[in-house]
Symmetry: C2
């Protein structure tokens, strides 16, 4: 097993087998720059690259991950090997030690400049639950659901990094019993625990990315909380889909875990009970599911443990579908899995499912209950995945606190 | 009436009352830079600003319109006055003449770096037609339609400038009679003639833009062709809205007409037959409709003349709605009106409406017919609006030719 000369316990979620990338600042140096998480520290990757005369100093010295991500898979692999060498070969000890900051002393930024943001809907449990709640008189899964990974574009300008306060949105909402819509603060503010995938290598318009090329284009993985205003969404979303019910904020975790760190996390996705068209057929080849164990905490209390391995559609299928019409990819485009919900109540990734549209509120240890989020509530989503030798690969967290509306 | 010393006929669509901005290159100088259309020429605005020692040389010397747009309304007004002075005061004749290029000799780029792209659905005629075609058993307008301007996010990475070839998309489609979806090239490729509005002045998250602040944030107007794969769209769009049926390409005209050029184009929108909520209530104050006369040509033959003044929802209402939930705006965000369709068949902005889902094909002068677009077809959308003294403000064109699929 690879080991670091740094004092990092073997079972640390940011161990030597992980090495996620982020963008950090410090009080001493407010310039945003690339950091790599190792144990309880952040390594200033650009500074070490410069100090060691690395060929990759230019991409590692950027203000965000985009140049590194754009450089392509071969560079991702060599850069990762180089960073691993810094942390395992004591010859680099001086350069490394000079550029380590305790994680608690850094501030994290958005790790990359976001291009387009696509949100999928890939959990069968979630889609069935939402279908039952939103369309009680219809089949919960629409006829297309098992034929294609349903998705839509979200607002990339309101993607924010973990820790950003979430202002309660206002807008139109109309309960079925109301005669007309009313305006006011969202009354059913919710979360969606999701997993995000960011595109590194771009494509030209007219190009498709087949399943087999997923690893050539997808750079890494992170956590997403797709905040949702259920009352606004329910009133607006027919016929063109969610808009203001989602566009006020989407939070992402600051650490992008490279796909190379997830070699031990691949699992078979659920059985395909509808024959996929060839461009989506993943029944041969390497398994495309990922075994992330997600945890959702509300005010410090765990309310759900969604298992990502239960997702019907995989990240590779989503990328193949998203480009099957020739839509180009840009470095920094990202897509989220859709809410991750397992079959059990305590595995659901959104309050609307956990509380069944508010009818069965969650009880918190302080004796209060929640149907949806109140001002001041904080939601933290975390995850880990299997790493080498029984270790866990940590994803850090995506956290956000609800603050009162301004509208 | 303001007049230029240049030999530009008073009735030219790019007369002195227009002065639209774009980004151009020339064979001699391939660097993208800001141009202003005047008559049949393009003025290199950055070069003149530098030659005349203008305070605004930095924003006018940029590679796209974003810095100028970000500078805010007061700067837009003074820059426009300055450019007008260059073209009307012979004192600037030397600097201007040195920096004019015939329009036929320049290549146009995307005028701005696109942030988010939102597509609305604001024509009542269009929404009723599409409702009848896509949901023949239901009320054509959904219950929310007259309460809010329905919209959704499109793909900003595939926004292309006029003249870019459009590769026919492939994907899944399933006719109602088919047992299962099939994969292949789109069989029902269509256009949507729309009008776009680009955001200049950004906002912070949690901020709303009231109707009265529209002119402080919206910089200018251009034409949009939102290419649509109707067969892909029909199969995918329930429940989360259009995705691959739209994301392969959206074409925009290269010239952004500043709102200041449209002082004579404002008209009352249609009567509001449902009481708007206060944040959308435009029944007092200045009229918010725009009297653009649009023309859609297929292979050189005019197939439609959509009247923009018939749109139910205005650009100011769309901006107020888009931000009512606190979603922030970035410079370069743009939104399109949705297909512009008047009440008459020959005023509809999409083939699916003109041919009523293909049942009544369009006859072209060469004797051929079109239900939807064939490879090699070229679509050109143009528009003009009333200018001062009986002149017309031209928007140029958004053109695109369909080329065969590569998938």
């Amino acid at each position: 097993m690879t080991s670091t000369w740094l004092a990092v316990p073997a079972d640390h979620p940011f161990g030597i087998g992980n090495l996620p990338y982020g963008v950090h600042t410090t009080t001493e140096d407010p310039a945003p720059r690339i950091g790599v998480a190792i144990g309880d520290h952040v390594l200033d990757a650009g500074a070490v690259a410069q100090a060691t005369g690395s060929d990759h100093a230019p991409v590692l010295s950027a203000a965000d991950l985009n140049p590194l991500m754009a450089a392509g898979r071969a560079v991702w692999t060599t850069v990762r090997a180089e960073i691993t060498a810094w942390l395992t070969d004591t010859a680099y000890r001086r350069e490394v030690e000079a550029n380590l900051t305790p994680r608690q002393d850094v501030a994290m930024r958005l790790p990359f400049a976001v291009g387009d943001y696509v949100d999928f809907y890939a959990s069968e449990n979630h889609a069935r639950n939402i279908g039952r709640i939103f369309r009680p008189d219809a089949e919960p899964l629409t006829p297309n659901w098992k034929h294609l990974p349903i998705g839509y574009h979200g607002r990339s300008g309101t993607v924010v990094v973990s820790g950003t306060d979430i202002v309660r949105p206002s807008g139109q909402r109309k309960a079925p019993a109301d005669a007309a819509p009313t305006y006011g603060p969202c009354l059913r503010l919710d979360i969606e625990a999701e997993v995000g995938f960011v595109v590194g290598t771009p494509t030209q318009m007219g190009t498709q990315v087949p399943l087999s090329a997923f690893r050539d284009h997808a750079f890494g993985v992170f956590l997403v909380n797709d905040w949702s205003a259920r009352d606004i969404q329910a009133w607006e979303y027919v016929p063109l889909g969610p808009f203001l019910g989602k566009s006020f904020a989407t939070s992402v975790s600051p650490w992008v875990v490279p796909l190379d760190a997830l070699a031990h996390a691949w699992v078979e996705p659920p059985a395909r009970d509808v024959e996929p068209l060839p461009y989506l057929d993943d029944r041969a080849g390497e398994p495309g599911g990922l075994d992330l164990a997600i945890e959702v905490a509300l005010n410090g209390h765990t309310v759900s443990r969604p298992p990502f391995r239960t997702m019907y559609w995989t990240a590779a299928q989503q990328l193949a579908h998203m480009t099957v019409n020739g839509a180009s990819l840009r470095t920094g485009d990202f897509y989220a899995s859709g809410t991750v919900s397992g079959p059990e109540v305590d595995q659901r990734g959104a309050l609307i499912e956990i509380t069944w549209n508010g009818r069965e509120p969650v009880k918190l240890p302080d004796g209060s209950t929640r149907a949806f989020l109140e001002d001041g509530d904080e939601v933290v989503v975390t995850a880990t995945a299997p790493g080498p030798d029984g270790t866990r690969i940590g994803f850090g967290e995506v956290a956000g606190r609800v603050v009162p509306t301004r509208g």
